[in-house]
């Protein structure tokens, strides 16, 4: 993945999580994955198109998802949730939207043109995601609520 794309995603994920959860966010070591990547249980996917093609995946386990959604809802003075109901899913989807949106805005400012698809939320056990011929960049984020992985796979249009 082009080095210019990395920082916008790392910064956007860090800043957005910090803002919506009002908590400390620690960035883990970035790394690359080529083969199928396991999905932790709750994954919001946003497609990218334009100068490049690819997708961004916001990935976490179910407990983390519930806690993160509750934290975000509490920030808006709404009732916390106890299981991943419709409100919870909508909240996680929105989080993915905010992170990707902010990253793409940063990239626009650098002169790269991206379009976004609406996010989709996938939940389940023992899932994997694979992209033929594209490496995925994994940006792990450690929160008090658990671990969120931002999984970015983008390539230049050949």
């Amino acid at each position: 993945m082009r080095v210019e794309y990395i920082n916008p995603f790392v910064e956007a994920a860090h800043d957005v999580l910090k803002e919506v959860l009002h908590t400390d966010v620690k960035r883990g070591e970035l790394y690359l994955k080529s083969t199928a990547t396991p999905v932790l249980g709750v994954a919001a996917i946003i497609g990218l198109a334009g100068d490049v093609e690819g997708r961004v995946l916001l990935d976490m386990d179910r407990t983390t998802a519930v806690q993160v959604a509750s934290g975000m809802l509490a920030g808006m003075e709404m009732e916390p949730i106890t299981d991943l109901n419709e409100m919870g899913r909508a909240t996680i989807t929105e989080l993915a939207n905010m992170i990707t949106g902010r990253a793409v805005t940063k990239l626009h400012n650098l002169g790269f043109a991206f379009d976004l698809t609406p996010p989709a939320l996938v939940t389940g056990d023992n899932m994997e995601i694979s992209n033929a011929n594209v490496e995925a960049l994994i940006v792990p984020m450690e929160l008090p609520q658990g671990r969120i992985e931002i999984n970015v796979a983008i390539r230049e249009r050949g």
Partner: protein, 459 residues
């Protein structure tokens, strides 16, 4: 960070040309405090503490001694010292493969408390360095060798090694050696019974001769393990010739001593391996040699691929050379590295004006006393954080520069990347490798080197 500080940082990071290491690996590398010589017996992997190994040897002529247990192969003249020779396979009741006539037995000479003793094994492999905390207590299922002979089990490079306690197996232990079958054989006794040089009286006497301890190839196999664990350098057909030659000059410079232990020594050993103009812009001689090898008069899209670009010096050299050679072409250089810090600074590489050869003058601008490449050149190079071993497609390229990168990949990855290069390139594609990397040994590419440039084309 100011540009100047950035530059200092870029210059400081002089070690680790192409670091493939993830943080865990780095941790493990720091803690290597146990080295073992590995060998195989009956198809399984074994190790023995390197501190117990006096040397690696090939025993081709030894003297049989009558009336000894079958695992005592005989006595051996080690430069005047007569030592007894134990066949580990017979001792552990493992099958003994037939050797072709004249082919020597491989083995080790051990330095035990009771003195020197030779052991014959199927094959001596390499020296492996591991953190001792990885050694686990033995489990009965691991070996056909009695449990008490095992000091531990360790996994390394997805192979399971059984570490043998040679002192207990062969040493002068008071207690009888616990033998798997009957305990009928006592190797300690065999050691004690080592005949004096007067063994000349034996009827089955063969001529004594010096052991073959100085095969450069064998020694190269031994340093290979150290190089791999301390620097990630992997010896294969790609670079075996260089390692053997370097070992000879290393021995000459170190009074015949070929042992390499520390990371500093490994770096020192590998220093001459790196190609000219590593972590600096290519000089005129290198530029002109590559230019002469490139196909003349290319137009349209001209693409180059530069895996292992590090901080970007090489990629910019390629970009400027291609721009200078093909003024009417659209140039694109795909550069990639796994060192995130290096490669993310590469798009904004800043240079010390004193280090920039005159050739680059049209391609650089001066900013605050430092020099950087013009926007046009920078647009040409696309830096990617990417691992060459991951399954990816290579864009159709006119030039591939992959210097001192393959040697730092695992053997199977070397093969995979080389076959990727072979599959996805045209006949005209020029492949520039490291100065001491022989691509021909690993593929059907033929060498077209010129001056300081080692290069290949499809055969």
């Amino acid at each position: 960070m100011t540009k100047h500080e950035k530059r200092e940082r870029a210059f400081d990071r002089s070690s680790g040309l192409f670091s493939n290491a993830d943080p865990n690996e780095a941790d493990e590398r720091e803690e290597i405090d146990y080295k073992m010589v590995t060998f195989s017996l009956g198809g399984k992997d074994y190790g023995v503490d390197i501190m117990k190994v006096a040397e690696i040897a090939k025993f081709d002529r030894y003297t049989c001694v009558p009336n000894t247990p079958d695992f005592v192969s005989g006595v051996y003249n080690l430069r005047g010292d007569i030592i007894s020779l134990i066949d580990m396979r017979r001792m552990f009741h493992l099958p003994v493969p037939e050797r072709a006539a004249g082919e020597p037995d491989e083995g080790l000479i051990l330095r035990l408390d009771g003195g020197l003793i030779g052991v014959i094994v199927d094959r001596v492999d390499e020296v492996v360095g591991i953190p001792s905390r990885l050694i686990q207590p033995p489990h009965p299922i691991f070996a056909d060798v009695n449990l008490r002979s095992i000091s531990g089990v360790v996994e390394h490079a997805s192979r399971l090694y059984i570490i043998l306690d040679m002192e207990r197996i062969l040493g002068e232990a008071d207690e009888p050696r616990p033998d798997r079958e009957s305990g009928a054989v006592d190797p300690a006794a065999a050691t004690r019974e080592t005949p004096e040089p007067a063994a000349t009286s034996g009827g089955a006497q063969e001529e004594l001769s010096r052991p073959h301890t100085a095969h450069p190839g064998d020694e190269a196999d031994l340093v290979a393990g150290t190089l791999r664990s301390l620097s990630g350098f992997v010896m294969t057909d790609l670079n075996r010739a260089w390692v053997a030659q370097r070992l000879r000059s290393w021995r000459d410079a170190h009074d015949g001593n070929v042992e390499i232990r520390s990371e500093a020594e490994v770096q020192e050993f590998l220093r001459p391996f790196y190609s000219p103009y590593t972590r600096s812009l290519w000089g005129d001689d290198y530029l002109e040699a590559v230019r002469a090898l490139l196909p003349p008069g290319l137009e349209g899209n001209v693409h180059a691929w530069n895996p292992g670009c590090g901080a970007g010096y090489e990629s910019y050299s390629i970009a400027c050379l291609l721009r200078d050679s093909y003024t009417n072409a659209r140039i694109r250089v795909w550069a990639a590295d796994t060192d995130l810090l290096d490669v993310s600074m590469a798009p904004s590489l800043v240079l010390d004006p004193a280090t920039v050869p005159a050739f680059y003058d049209p391609f650089v601008t001066e900013v605050d006393g430092a020099v950087e490449f013009t926007a046009k050149v920078r647009e040409t190079v696309l830096f990617e954080f990417s691992d060459v071993t991951h399954h990816q497609t290579v864009p159709p390229c006119d030039l591939i520069v992959i210097r001192d990168v393959l040697s730092f990949l695992q053997e199977e990855d070397q093969r995979r990347v080389i076959s990727l290069i072979a599959e996805q390139t045209a006949v005209t594609t020029l492949v520039v490798t490291g100065a001491h990397e022989d691509l021909h040994e690993m593929s059907d590419h033929v060498e077209v080197s010129r001056g300081p440039v080692r290069a290949y084309r499809k055969g």
